[in-house]
Structures are given as C-alpha cells and as structure tokens.
C-alpha cells in the first residue's frame, strides 16, 4: 500500500499530533473567552480591523468604482425605458413640489408663531463606507470615522433618506454600523398614522419584519414607520420605511434607505437623555435664594438679545 513516507515522519507524528491538539484547545479557549467576555475580545477585533481595513482603502476605492461603472454601463441598456418613466414621475413630482412649498411656508409660519427652536445639539458626522461585513450572515458596514471623530456606540446612522443602522463597535479610525437587516438588529419603531408601537427585528432579509404589534389590524400597507425612541438608544422620529404585507400576511418594512448603494452615511450625534430619577422636592419658595438679589432674568434677557 501507500506506505511511502519518509521514515523521519514516523517519529515526529505523535509530537505533531500533540502540538495540533494544543493549538485546537488554544483556539477553543479563545472562542470560550469570547463567549464569556465578548466586549474585551470584540475590542481587540475592532482594533485589528481599525489597523487593517483603512490601509486597504487605496486598493478598495478603484475596484469599487470600477464595479460601480460596470453597473452604470449595464443600466444604459434600459435608458430609454427609464427616461420615459422618469418623465412620468417628474410630472407627478411637480404637483408634489407645489404642495410641499405651500406646506413649507405654512410650517415656517407655524413654527414662527410657536417660537419653536429646533434642537441645536442634533448634528451629524458624515462618513464614507469603507468595507462590507464580508459574510453573507452578517449585515454591517465599516465607516471611516471613529473614536477620534467623537463617534460613540449606539448612535444612529442614516443615509440621505432613512435610518440605516446604528453604531456598534468603534475603533480609533473606523466604526462599524450594524444594519437594520442584520439578524442581531432590534429597533423600537412606531407605525405612523395609527401610532402602533412595534419592534423591527432584522432577519437577514432585505425587508425586516415588524414584531410585537399590539393591534396589527390598525396597520395598513403603505404606512410610514419611524423610530419611536423607546429604550433611549436611537433618537425618535427617524424615518425607517414603509409597511408592506407579504403573501403570508406578515407585516414587513420596506426600508427607506437605499441599501444597494451605501456610500456616505450620516452618524447622528445623540446626547444622553436626562433621566428623571427622584420624584422631586417640595414645591415652595427657596428660602436662601429669596434673600439675595436675582440677576438671573436680566442675564437671560441679555443672552436672547
């Protein structure tokens, strides 16, 4: 038979087997450590990705662009058809534009009447998508902004239109965005006209299902879905998408964000909400404060002016 090994191999084989065993045990220990204390190992992973992926950027950019160009070329074939459709849509949009302008004027007037100030703290940082998750079972992207730009875990990432996901894992130069379609993503949402609260739980498909709806009868296909802000992780009122009903009568959400072409993402700076912890003191005039002069109202007036 094929016993044509070199004889020295016969001697090293048992030792080799032991060494392989040690290596396997070592790997399994790493896995168990990760399973028990995942944040520490994840931090190491984030640091590694932080080191590796941005250095591949110079090569990634041209390849990505080339593939985009190829896709663009393919779309030339359907150009005529598209053109006609676009004209059709443009006609409809003109009507909408008029309506929007009117509403905008009205809104401005009402805001002015109410003296509403939009929250100046709600600013954003824009990042470029560096890399995909690379695995078909995980839906996440890597942004080129990280801890040095002030990114923190849990902040919302949106594209121009709707919510894309939230930050989970921040390196020094990169941050990972878990997409809404990832099977680990759970986002509390509210379905707009009926005000029904639900949980949008990703399941690795393009349209994640709505779960824990109290009265599904009140929800119609086409309803708007926005974040509810429950759990105080994501800010409330970010557009997520539109309800649609599957043939099996399950309600899913067609995401508003363009997941096919994620290129730039805005990370919304959200500040920690103030938590009301004590029931509040007695309501009455503070004794010490009444004695001294009170410059506060004047200073406030000067500030406003």
């Amino acid at each position: 038979m094929a016993r044509n090994r070199i004889s020295s191999d016969e001697f090293t084989r048992p030792i080799r087997r032991i060494l392989i065993g040690i290596l396997v045990v070592f790997l399994l220990v790493i896995f168990l450590i990760w399973r028990i204390d995942s944040p520490r190992v994840e931090r190491f992973r984030t640091a590694l990705i932080d080191r590796v992926v941005p250095s591949m950027d110079w090569a990634m950019a041209p390849v990505t662009h080339a593939s985009d160009m190829a896709q663009g070329f393919q779309s030339y074939q359907s150009l005529y058809q598209q053109n006609r459709e676009l004209r059709e849509e443009l006609k409809q949009m003109r009507g909408w534009k008029e309506a929007a302008l009117r509403l905008e004027q009205q809104n401005a007037k009402l805001l002015d009447l109410n003296q509403v100030r939009l929250d100046p703290k709600l600013t954003h940082i824009t990042g470029v998508v560096l890399a995909d998750s690379g695995s078909p079972f995980r839906q996440s992207v890597l942004l080129n902004v990280g801890a040095r730009d002030g990114i923190r875990d849990g902040w919302a990432a949106v594209d121009g239109i709707g919510l894309v996901g939230r930050i989970s894992g921040v390196g020094k130069r990169t941050a990972r965005v878990i997409l809404l379609t990832d099977s680990n993503s759970r986002v509390p949402v509210v379905v707009q006209p009926s005000g029904q609260k639900a949980l949008l739980s990703g399941d690795n498909t393009a349209a994640p299902p709505l779960e824990f709806l109290e009265k599904p009868d009140l929800v119609r296909p086409g309803d708007k879905v926005v974040t509810s802000g429950d759990g105080s992780v994501l800010p409330a009122g970010l557009l997520v998408g539109e309800v649609m009903q599957m043939p099996d009568r399950r309600l899913r959400v067609m995401l508003a964000a363009d997941y096919e072409g994620l290129e730039f993402l805005r990370v919304l700076r959200s500040h920690e909400l103030e938590v009301i912890s004590d029931p509040g003191g007695l309501v009455g005039p503070p004794v010490e404060r009444m004695m001294g002069p009170q410059p506060a109202p004047e200073a406030e007036g000067a500030d406003n002016g």
Binding site: A2, I20, S133, P136, F137, L179, T181, T205, A207
Partner: protein, 179 residues
C-alpha cells in the same frame, strides 16, 4: 536555505497566503450586496482542502490556522471556533493523504463534500451548545453546497495556473526525492 525544493514550497505558501488575502479583500469590498442574497461558496475552505489533498507540504497547520483565524476576526465570526473546526478537518484529511492519493476525482469530491458537511455540522453544533444565535439551517446550508459545487473549479484552476497536482506513483521532484 538555498534548497530549490524548499524554495518551491515557500513560493507556494506565499501564493496561498496572497490568494487568501485577495479573496478576503474582495469579500470586504463595499459593493452593496446586501441581505437576502444567497451566500456564495467559502472559497478559502475550497482552496485549502484542494491544495492540502494534493500537496500537504504546501500548507502547514500553523499557516492554515493563522489564515482562518484572521478571516474569523475580519468577517465578524466568533473568533477561534471556525479555525478550530477547519484545523481539525484538515488534520483528518492530512492523516488520510496516503488513502486519498489513490482516489479517483469523483470519490475525492465525495470525500471532500462529506468533510465539508461534517465541519459545517460541527460548527453549528457548537453554536447550539453555547446557545448562540445562528442563521437558518437551510440558508447556511446553501453556502456548503455552493462550496462543494465550486470545489472542482478550484482544483482545476489551481492545476492550470499553478500546477498543483497529486504526485503520481513514483514521481520525483527536481532534487530526485520522492514526493
């Protein structure tokens, strides 16, 4: 270290590393292939098994472990688990090299298919034991099937481009040693 035989092995190890890095790079490209798309084959696994079966001296266990562990870390998989599974799988294959040398390609393919399936089941079993969430069985199975289907192509391409083949009976290298 000017031994030409040694150099050939080292060159092939370098090529393996390079190919794996390129595959990894291609998978990380942000091309927007989002959810609900069928998972493609695990080319790194195909390449590793195909090469190992032909020339086990090209792929030492440490190199395989290092490569797969890097892949684990970059692709957000539980670190170490898939590496351990692949290492065990490749060792099973390595210890049966003498046997597989005489198999026809069809039988080899069957053997590799069974090995991949076994590795996949072991991986999932550990997921179940450690109570980790995992993608649906059928969905994940598509990847294994795709890997098995692609395996002959990987074998063929690595033979055409790099000449990685099973040493024939009594084949000797340039130094006159038996392979």
């Amino acid at each position: 270290m000017d031994d030409p035989l040694r150099r050939d092995v080292l060159v092939h190890r370098g090529i393996y590393l390079l190919v794996v890095l390129v595959l990894l790079f291609l998978r990380l490209l942000p091309l927007g292939d989002g959810a609900a798309r069928l998972p493609g084959p695990d080319l790194v696994l195909c390449l590793t098994l195909a090469w190992l079966l032909r020339r086990p001296d090209y792929l030492p266990a440490l190199l395989i472990a290092a490569v797969v562990f890097l892949e684990d870390l970059l692709l957000m998989r539980p670190p170490g688990l898939w590496t351990a599974v692949v290492l065990l799988g490749t060792e099973v294959l390595r210890s049966r090299i003498a046997l597989t040398r005489e198999l026809s390609f069809l039988l080899e393919w069957l053997f590799i298919g069974m090995l991949m399936m076994g590795m996949f089941l072991a991986y999932r079993l550990v997921h179940v034991v450690t109570l980790m969430p995992q993608p649906g069985f059928g969905y994940a199975m598509v990847q294994v099937l795709a890997s098995i289907l692609v395996y002959p192509a990987v074998v063929w391409i690595s033979f055409i481009t790099l000449g990685v083949h099973k040493p024939g009976m009594g084949e000797i290298d340039k130094m006159g040693r038996r392979l």
